[in-house]
């Protein structure tokens, strides 16, 4: 359901069909259009403005499978007034949705290359649609690696899917956490440590990175060290958003509007702004 060109600030109603708890503060919602529309088409990396009636509206990445537009999936972290309400829906409650907005991950450009997805924390949520797309069109890509870091094992998203992805022979999945108790048998350490040993050809790779800005900064350094050109590296940026259509001015990042020029950017195009403080 495209935000109508005639009134881009008017949301459409969507009913909450299911809620699944990912971590103590993060939930994945399944939404269906409440006004009879057949689905919600989007490109991986795009986001919606999600509205709680009378409370407010927040930008949330779409984290479902773009090839399955019937249900709209959002993974939401409960951190403020609006997201708290989104994460505690009553049975059959209705949310407003405007979108999809923004630029998308370069899944077409990556055809014929290796693909490296590096994400941290909830940064996996906006990248999952890209991973779905790549896996659904596996033959078009070279080696594919998912490198995922979280705070602790309890903070990992999509805990049942991760081992399934890992179990596929044609996908390298490496997961690490910042700290763990003794029972954890996986990696402990920052996500950047997963980059040097990952299996991909730096000269023929498209890298997609998403996570807290600090994590992205260090990740980009590590990718550069391995020889991945910044023209082949893509990041998803985030700023305060009120309108998502380029009018409120809040999401400006240098000369770009993250709502319409982003959120996905080719890194070399924003590199000078990325390293400027308080921009």
């Amino acid at each position: 359901m495209m935000a109508t060109l005639s009134d881009p600030m008017a949301p459409s109603p969507f009913r909450v069909q299911g809620v699944r708890k990912e971590t103590y503060d993060t939930f994945t919602l399944e939404l269906l259009p409440a006004n009879g529309a057949t689905g919600f088409a989007f490109a991986p990396g795009q986001f919606n403005m999600v509205y709680v009636s009378g409370v407010g509206e927040v930008p949330i990445s779409i984290s479902g499978d773009p090839a399955k537009p019937r249900t709209l999936i959002h993974t939401v972290r409960s951190v403020g007034t609006v997201t708290k309400k989104i994460c505690q829906p009553q049975a059959g409650s209705v949310l407003g949705v405007r979108g999809p907005f923004g630029s998308s991950w370069p899944v077409e450009q990556a055809v014929g290359s290796d693909v490296v997805i590096v994400c941290g924390g909830i940064g996996l949520a906006p990248l999952r649609p890209a991973l779905y797309h790549v896996m659904a069109n596996r033959g078009k890509y070279g080696r594919v690696a998912l490198l995922y870091g979280a705070r602790t094992p309890e903070d990992l998203l999509y805990k049942t899917e991760l081992p399934k992805w890992r179990g596929q022979f044609d996908l390298q999945v490496e997961v690490t956490v910042d700290s763990a108790t003794g029972g954890w048998r996986g990696n402990v350490g920052v996500v950047t440590t997963l980059i040097p040993p990952a299996r991909f050809d730096p000269e023929n790779t498209v890298a997609m990175v998403c996570g807290p800005e600090v994590m992205m900064r260090f990740t980009l350094l590590e990718l550069e060290k391995r020889g991945v050109p910044s023209e082949n590296t893509f990041v998803s940026m985030e700023r305060n958003m009120k309108c998502a259509v380029g009018f409120c001015g809040h999401c400006q990042f240098g000369p770009t509007f993250i709502c319409k020029d982003g959120p996905v950017f080719r890194f070399d195009q924003i590199q000078p702004f990325f390293v400027t403080r308080e921009i």
Binding site: M9, P13, Y51, S53, E57, V94, F247, Q252, E278, I279
Partner: protein, 378 residues
């Protein structure tokens, strides 16, 4: 809005017939807005009678200074610009976007933005004409257009007024935005006032402008009258209070994000946001969702916002631009540089309002000059 039509020659409108122009517009269903004195300033508001115009008033402006002074003559447009601009009407500071009713099936939007009717602006300076054109690009030229701005702009009727004077903060000549109005108006007036006569030389800009003028007593302008008008405007052009060197200014600001001058201005800037309020091109807004106590009726409102607030860039438990330095830099770099990459024009029209209304007299032309002098990008 179009360029002055080639075939329509300038006309002359006597001062005493100006009221007729306002009446014709009212009769055609326009809400007529123009300058008036209120609270010791000249602001734009409803103007139905010429008597309510700032007859015989002028303004003296400089950094952080605005005073009204009585003129020796009875000029109607003998001032330059006040704290308000036409964005008050095209991009209102508080506007309801929609209201909806909630119920079992979620919510249903019942009504969009209020219909503001047709607006007629009397006394639009050339800098403000350019400001309107700048905001047209922001709100009408992208993938989405703003329905509130679009509706108000679509039927607007613009009577521009060429400047006969400039004040201490004007720099439209530097920005190539005046003082003569060259396009974007339906009618453009130049006030000519001497010992014997008081009249306006009228340029017709559009077909509708010609139609409206047709209903007002007027006659073709004589060569002397046209020359008088040109002289007046030329004189205004020579009296600019400030200048701004715009050569390579985009690259200059892109290359000076770390210039220590920002620390200098940060010590003075109060982040009060006055500049963003009076600037005719500043467009940033925020959105507020409201509800009644029962949660049955909800509304979405849009309000003017300013990049100088801490809230503006707030994410993840903190503001991205927490320091004064970062916020002033954002405003000025946006206005003079990144705006060009975003919308194809400068965001600044050289009106000088930000200099006049800054409580500590920060001067955008001076800051730009200081950065140019200490350019760190070379």
């Amino acid at each position: 809005m179009g360029n002055p039509s080639q075939s329509a020659e300038p006309a002359v409108l006597e001062r005493d017939h100006l009221q007729s122009l306002l009446d014709v517009l009212s009769k055609r269903g326009f809400r007529v807005l123009g300058p008036t004195v209120r609270d010791r300033a000249i602001v734009y508001d409803d103007l139905t009678s010429v008597a309510d115009a700032p007859v015989g008033w002028t303004d003296e402006q400089d950094g952080g200074t605005y005073r009204l002074k009585k003129r020796a003559d009875g000029a109607l447009f003998g001032y330059t610009k006040g704290p308000t601009s036409w964005k008050n009407f095209l991009h209102p500071s508080v506007v309801r976007l929609w209201r909806a009713k909630t119920g079992g099936n979620g919510f249903k939007i019942e009504e969009g933005a209020e219909n503001a009717g047709k607006l007629a602006f009397i006394g639009v300076r050339s800098c403000d004409l350019h400001a309107i054109a700048v905001q047209d690009k922001v709100f009408l030229d992208g993938k989405y257009s703003d329905p509130v701005y679009k509706a108000r702009r679509k039927d607007s009727f613009i009577v521009a007024v060429n400047c006969g004077q400039a004040d201490g903060t004007c720099f439209c000549v530097s920005m190539n935005t005046g003082p003569k109005a060259t396009s974007g108006f339906d009618l453009a007036l130049t006030e000519v006032l001497d010992a014997k006569r008081h009249y306006f030389v009228v340029e017709i800009g559009t077909k509708q402008g010609g139609e409206v003028l047709g209903q007002v007593p007027h006659k073709p302008a004589a060569a002397t009258e046209k020359a008088a008008a040109e002289r007046i405007v030329a004189e205004a052009a020579g009296r600019m209070g400030r200048t701004m060197n715009t050569k390579g200014i985009k690259e200059l600001l892109y290359g000076n994000y770390d210039n220590p001058r920002w620390d200098d201005v940060a010590k003075r800037c109060l982040t009060c946001g006055n500049c963003t309020l009076v600037c005719p091109t500043c467009f940033c807004t925020t959105v507020e969702d409201t509800t009644d106590l029962a949660g049955e009726h909800v509304e979405r409102w849009r309000k003017l916002d300013s990049c100088f607030t801490m809230d503006f860039s707030y994410i993840h438990g903190g503001s991205v631009r927490a320091s004064n330095r970062a916020r002033y830099r954002q405003w000025m770099t946006h206005k003079l540089a990144t705006w060009i990459d975003q919308f194809g024009t400068s965001g600044c029209v050289g009106c000088g309002r930000c200099i006049t209304w800054c409580p500590v007299a920060i001067d955008i032309t001076e800051e730009a000059g200081a950065i140019r002098k200490s350019d760190k990008s070379r």
